[in-house]
Symmetry: C2
């Protein structure tokens, strides 16, 4: 009796060609995060339940993978932020602050199985953690990191949307709406879906707001324009609330350094509707959208917070961080056919095919190619010539090297360009040169269509 | 009430500097495996228990992390081989064979907590899977992969030990010991620990072997010499058992291609005592030892097998693979002080320190460095100069850039070499050139001491 080889639903398992694309995306994120001076970090997938759930409650707790092993109550991590908080608190004395780390790892949430929803998925996070304080420049730098990452991934049309929670909190305070702030944001968040008229009605009906106050909120949220224009409009509120004024100062700094950080204005927008939940973030907040695919939502989000690890230590540890939901991003890119076909997905750059019983020359050629940094595979299976060439086609290798009687007699090899069909009789060195050049060109392709 | 921020025992969690070294090791393995034409692969950490335990039984079953989630009986993978078998069986129609994949991932075994034993650990595996058959050249290539990987990691003194299970099975058959083969191998495996005399006594006492037969076994295991000498000795057994003869032919091919694969003889040895468990492997088997640290045991092992996925599909899928227990390897390298100090472990190559309130020039300099591929961090925290320099020292950054009144007035920057203390007034471009050159040199260091 055979067991049916199946993969759990909600768990992504890619075919090799797709995995190559995913791997390339991860490598670009690792490289970009490193460029911006983040340490790589790795923490266990399993933690003690009381540690992981120190904050407790909420939607996540129901979804958590929690189980007993021996005497231990264990849980799988459901994000990378709680493990970071634990890490920083546990190793506080061994870290230099600001502490900058990236982590790309799997997290687990037992969500209802649904197309495009994953129970195991990668998050790719960065955070900068200060000890007691953290300079605003760290918030200003985040758009540059997002911009560099997505540009390197191959995206051209994306927009980093930024807001500041102090602006929102200050605005609600100056309008005497602080208590209703969280309900207002929940309703305003529906703007894109239901439109301004219905949002206004909900504010009036559900929150018993006076119509002119609801309009105030909607007018504020509707402020648009260039960074300079928006800031000018916001300046008209200055002096009414200290928190608002501080938020405005921060927004000035964040937008003020954009050019020096190399972020074009077309990839950036202040958007006063961005809120990102109520209780955690306290300063700049970020979302990243693809204007051509609004239904995808934000592909990279985060913000500034005041207290990373309050459940573990007394020390205030403010920070700023962003997270990319990599598995979901990959899924939607695949769905929208936005993964580039130009990126090579063959496991090798050249397939060396011996045509005689003598394998020595094939091994020698393969070793020479590898020494030159060329990814090389020897195909010596006992198959007919046609089957060998069809394997080469199937894996999509750009070059094949054929070693028959003729080549062996001359001490040369035949290099076949699998795309053009062109075949040349060359030395291994000459072949390596041609392959290297072609491969370098191919590898400059980004995983996402521009 | 604070929760104590602790990490479960048996779970490795590294400090940032050590994580950098681990990360570098992983990157070298990814690059090496890619060079030898293996696809990257990623499979879920969680599988259905009936799928993961299709083979059933054994020591691992007791150690497994198994739990219920809703109606599902789930388990965490305890190796990367079973998930590969499932993957190949499930996606059989979508794969081209031979199918070559590497996977570097965490696996879970609830072993007794013990120093140097891990419950969550990385394995770094490669396997080549054939469809119905698989050419011997794939077995011959494995030592080249091991050699390249460990050389790139920085190791010089290591030895790839090779044997062939057909030789052993054939030898036992020609001596009428086939039934006792597994017990003999279990006892012979203790040779290094208890010595030849005691092994012989155990063979006689426990297995009721006649003394001359026990001696036959010990004489065979003791065959030593160069590859050519060992093969010559083995040739004297030719003609007595077909399986033995086939194993000898295979060993001839494996050793015969070593030079063309670029593996020096000093890093290789045929060792007839290598067996690697009884029921799974059927051809060449591999272990890799560090002669200066015999207590570490094998750091890279594997072999040829006939049937990867027999519990899932009828199709015979022979393969050959090796596995590096990366977490344990890292642990013992650390214990033995074999991790190199030369490898840079700072999160950045240069720390840009603004000395005035004006942050613009620091941002511009940082952006220029990053465009030149230099890992750069801006340190703008409101601290005294001494604290800033002590941060630079603490993270071990090789260069600092200082931007004071003087530098700003001249439109230049001061580049401070943190090792020599030398400080130069330069343009950003000049500084980038100096940093790049130094960093390139530093990054050529390997993570392991030679």
């Amino acid at each position: 009796m055979k067991v049916k080889p199946r993969t759990l639903s909600g768990f992504m398992e890619l075919l090799p060609e797709d995995q190559m694309k995913m791997e390339r995306m991860m490598q670009i994120l690792r490289d970009t995060y490193s460029l911006f001076a983040f340490y790589p970090l790795d923490t266990p997938v399993i933690e003690a339940s009381d540690v992981l759930l120190a904050k407790g409650g909420g939607e996540t707790e129901k979804q958590i993978y929690r189980f007993q092993k021996g005497d231990s109550d264990l849980s799988l991590r459901f994000d990378l932020t709680v493990p970071l908080a634990k890490y920083v608190a546990a190793h506080y004395g061994d870290l230099a602050f600001p502490f900058r780390r990236y982590q790309i790892g799997k997290v687990y949430r037992g969500e209802r199985a649904q197309r495009g929803r994953f129970r195991e998925f990668y998050q790719a996070d960065i955070d900068v953690i200060g000890d007691g304080s953290l300079d605003i420049i760290n918030e200003a730098e985040i758009p540059a990191i997002i911009y560099t990452a997505f540009t390197r991934l191959g995206l051209r049309r994306f927009q980093i949307k930024v807001n500041n929670r102090k602006l929102l909190n200050g605005f609600y305070a100056m309008n005497g709406m602080s208590e209703k702030a969280s309900d207002i944001m929940r309703i305003v968040d529906k703007m894109d879906k239901i439109g301004e008229v219905k949002v206004k009605q909900m504010l009036i009906d559900e929150l018993q707001m006076r119509p002119y106050k609801a309009e105030n909120v909607l007018d504020f949220m509707a402020i648009r324009g260039s960074n300079a224009e928006i800031i000018e409009r916001l300046e008209s509120f200055r002096g009414m609330d200290a928190t608002f004024d501080q938020g405005l100062d921060e927004l000035r700094i964040v937008t003020g350094h954009l050019a020096a950080f190399g972020v074009p204005e077309e990839n950036f927008a202040v958007d006063l509707r961005i809120a990102r939940g109520l209780d955690y973030y306290t300063g700049t907040v970020y979302e990243t959208e693809l204007p051509d695919y609004p239904e995808i939502g934000s592909v990279c989000s985060g913000g500034r917070y005041d207290n990373l690890a309050e459940y573990y230590i007394d020390r205030p540890l403010p920070g700023v961080g962003i997270s990319i939901g990599l598995t979901r991003l990959f899924y939607v890119l695949q769905e929208q056919k936005l993964l580039s076909d130009e990126l090579p997905t063959a496991p090798c750059d050249v397939l060396v095919i011996p045509m005689t019983k003598e394998l020595g020359p094939a091994v020698t050629a393969a070793t020479a190619f590898r020494s030159a940094g060329i990814r090389c595979q020897i195909y010596a299976e006992n198959r007919k010539f046609k089957a060998k060439m069809s394997y080469a086609d199937r894996i999509g290798v750009p070059f094949a090297v054929l070693l028959g009687e003729d080549e062996l007699a001359k001490g040369l090899l035949s290099l076949k360009n699998m795309e053009t069909g062109e075949q040349l009789l060359l030395t291994a060195e000459e072949a390596a040169g041609i392959i290297s050049e072609a491969v370098q060109k191919k590898n400059s392709a980004a995983p996402i269509r521009g």
